[in-house]
């Protein structure tokens, strides 16, 4: 035990720089999602496979839909990325930042009829 103590005393601390330095997240980490609206067809497969209701599809008709994403419900499991046949949705290695309002994090990923990607 004494040897471990002396070893530790004369070795550098293994503490990460963050928060006093830049944050370094590993490459494969599943963080916030990235969405490519052009690829999305609104098929809803991601919504069906999401285990945590993190995605919501509000569909009026085939062309007229809204795809919502709720980071505060998301389980960050990567199932949507795996399911999407057209690769529209994927995880980046950015950390989702803490918030004072979980519903305020909700992101409108795509509205079908306008074919635009408005983010709120």
């Amino acid at each position: 035990m004494l040897r471990a103590l002396i070893d530790a005393l004369f070795s550098k601390a293994d503490t990460v720089q963050y928060p006093y330095g830049p944050v370094s997240l590993p490459e494969g980490f599943r963080g916030a999602i990235e969405f490519i609206p052009e690829r999305c067809t609104g098929c809803g497969l991601c919504v069906r496979d999401c285990p945590a209701n993190g995605l919501e599809l509000i569909r009026e008709s085939r062309e007229d839909f809204q795809l919502w994403y709720y980071p505060a419900r998301c389980a960050y499991c990567g199932q949507c990325q795996l399911t999407c046949p057209r690769g529209a949705i994927s995880h980046t290695n950015d950390m989702v930042l803490p918030t004072t309002d979980p519903e305020g994090l909700a992101v409108l990923l795509k509205t079908g009829h306008k074919n635009s990607n408005k983010k709120q």
């Binding site: 530790a8 005393l9 601390a13």
Partner: protein, 308 residues
């Protein structure tokens, strides 16, 4: 008159001791962190903790006695501050008289008693258990500690800390004559300060925070301050009794030696709290009475024979 107030409130009294207590806490925590390969707290951490505790709401559980809970930390703080007044700092002592070592030992026992009472006045089971444990522990470490303290006193033929310090300047540090006594004193001090591995009365995984479980706000802050100052007073006493220093050269050199010795003792305390697991209370009692006390008596006999 003015001088007396200065001694009381600035040096070596209140302000100096509070400063040293906080500095001790920081050095201790930083060392522990280094042993654990961590960075450790910032330099202002103990101060921030203290101020924050004062800013918090002061809650008392229903059934606990309010004024007793308030007065106990104050009494123990006053006791350790008074004890600190009689201990020479780097050879400087304004108040010294024959027999002050006994007064110091007596005053240093008051926080333990107050801790016990604090546990008993709270209604929580953890507090009661912690209080009872602190008293049990007191009986185990106090006798070896007293035996260890009487060694230097007998060797120098005086019960005054200043006299003991003076005779060490002539004879050489007493740790050379009584290394066993020094180890006993360290063990006793760890017990007195309720530090790991003898933090039985406030063991986190058993009794949450011991007697202090139900305390919050300012009262807790006073308790923390008491613990810190008690630690620094204990360390000062240990240094004066066992290390000593060449007196009368220059106050600056004395200060330097003194600080070095303080850091050494803090290092020993931190290291021993890192490498030992907490003992059970029955193990502590058998360690105290079966090993430490006989060893203390033998070393005392040795000292007496040496004196003859």
């Amino acid at each position: 008159m003015f001088e007396g107030l200065f001694y009381l409130f600035v040096f070596p009294g209140l302000a100096f001791q509070v400063f040293c207590g906080l500095a001790f806490e920081w050095v201790d925590r930083k060392l522990l962190a280094r042993f654990q390969r961590r960075v450790g707290p910032q330099w202002y951490q103990p101060l921030a903790d203290l101020i924050k505790l004062f800013s918090k709401e002061d809650l008392l559980p229903t059934g606990a006695s309010g004024w007793v809970a308030t007065i106990l930390p104050l009494i123990s703080l006053a006791a350790v501050l008074t004890a600190g007044l009689y201990i020479p700092v780097a050879g400087f002592t304004p108040f010294s008289f024959e027999g002050d070592l006994i007064v110091i030992v007596f005053l240093m026992g008051i926080p333990t008693l107050a801790y016990y009472l604090a546990g008993m006045t709270s209604v929580g089971i953890y507090s009661i258990l912690g209080g009872a444990r602190s008293l049990l522990q007191y009986f185990s470490y106090e006798v070896p500690l007293l035996l260890a303290f009487s060694g230097p006193a007998i060797l120098s033929g005086s019960w005054s800390v200043a006299e003991i310090l003076k005779s060490q300047a002539e004879l050489g540090p007493f740790i050379l004559f009584q290394p066993v006594g020094f180890c006993l004193a360290i063990a006793g001090l760890i017990g007195k300060l309720k530090r790991d591995p003898l933090d039985i009365p406030k063991a986190k995984s058993e009794v949450v925070a011991g007697s202090l479980t139900e305390f919050s706000g300012g009262k807790l802050a006073f308790w923390h301050l008491t613990m810190d100052i008690q630690a620094i007073v204990g360390i000062f006493l240990l240094i004066n009794l066992f290390f000593g220093m060449p007196l009368g050269i220059s106050p600056w050199i004395n200060t330097l030696i003194f600080s070095g010795e303080v850091l050494l003792v803090i290092f020993i305390l931190s290291a021993s709290s890192s490498i030992f697991a907490r003992l059970r209370i029955d193990q502590l009692a058998s360690l105290g009475w079966r090993i430490l006390v006989p060893v203390g008596i033998i070393q005392l006999l040795f000292v007496i024979l040496m004196g003859v």
